[in-house]
Point group: D2
Chain length 134, copies 4
């Protein structure tokens, strides 16, 4: 069992139990995507053809910031405002979609872009699936 | 001239000049709001009646995270995806509205909630005014 | 293979290969600890005896912030300043030690504090082991 | 009075009053530096000679992350562990010194590097002055 799952299961509030797997998948997808985007921006920075990767660095950094914020907000289970959570999930799904599109353009040249695009698509999907239940 | 304004004026890309004041106001409002929300959550934690401030701490922390991410994303002016920026501004405006509503409930008892609610309303307004131009 | 490991292996710079496992363990421990601390602060906020958990919330939030920053900084492999990385690892090891001490006080009453203390101790160890190689 | 100062003055804990100006200067310097470094990394990304600015982008991003974490941790006044605060301030002073050194190399060519280096030096000084009182 991952640390995130152990933490979720030990939370004093029991509500939302039915949704626990979707919340957990979304938290873990956000954290993995934030890390992948931070790593991809940095790997781009080390590439010879950096000049053609400016937009990729930019979108990576934006996506990393939004995913990190979303992962923290979803981690919180005490109280909270559904309108806020919904808007944050929408923003995160869009950030992931934008970053995935950009990374997919470079996926055949750079393995880090290929892996990062996958992490973005997983996170986009997890956000949309959680949104559908709210 | 604030550091944020000096940085914005020295950016190599000149596009968006007409919108510069709105971007700058939004960046500064996001940073001030993130700081105020972090401080308000902590001040609540030091209050005797902490029991009645749980929801306030929660919404403060969520709003701080979203404002910090939005402030970073808006600070970036190289390239970027308008769909992403728009979704992030929508999420930030909602996070600020939710947090302001909660803090306003406690504003007559706690000066930190009153000041924090003001910072949230300023940031909500700045996000909506920038959104209207995108 | 985790996303973080795939990203590390696809980085254009090959230097540091000998140290790759230690860097990877430290990145993953930082991310897991940041998430656990964010979750523990929130779980404390939902506990009836919140009054006795103020210090735990505080240290959780501080540790979450330092671990998140450290995880991002360590994720970057292009260039970088060893003095900076060393100081950040020292700060992270101390944040984890402080938070673990506090959470251990509540570990017999709250499962989330027990799990969080473990995540802190793992991260403290990973930081110290990486420090020993720099 | 800035929002940060209003928040600090309305905190329920009165201890540390003598040190309030130093804490406030350090919080504000951290926030301004984090924003300046985020902006400088992005401005570098938009420069024609990006190839020569790789190290500057890297150090900017690291410094932004450490300053943001330090600004949040210092903002908290309820409880807290002095060993943790001290280690975080040391890390932040080093991150600022490293980033200032790098930005100073480009200060005559790029106004954003010149302004960013100033923000780093101010933050480094504020951290060291606060450290001297702990």
């Amino acid at each position: 069992m991952s640390v995130a799952e152990q933490m979720l299961r030990s939370h004093p509030d029991e509500r939302d139990e039915a949704n626990r797997d979707r919340v957990l998948e979304c938290v873990e997808a956000c954290l993995a995507c934030a890390q992948a985007c931070t790593a991809c921006a940095d790997a781009c920075l080390g590439e010879e053809e950096l000049d053609r990767l400016r937009e990729c660095v930019r979108t990576d950094l934006d996506c990393a910031d939004q995913c990190a914020a979303t992962g923290r907000i979803l981690t919180r289970r005490t109280g909270g405002d559904t309108r806020l959570v919904r808007a944050v999930l929408e923003a995160c799904a869009q950030a992931c979609a934008s970053c995935a599109e950009e990374c997919e353009r470079h996926a055949s040249h750079h393995e880090h872009c290929r892996v990062c695009a996958q992490a973005c698509r997983r996170c986009e999907r997890a956000c949309r699936e959680l949104l559908a239940t709210l």
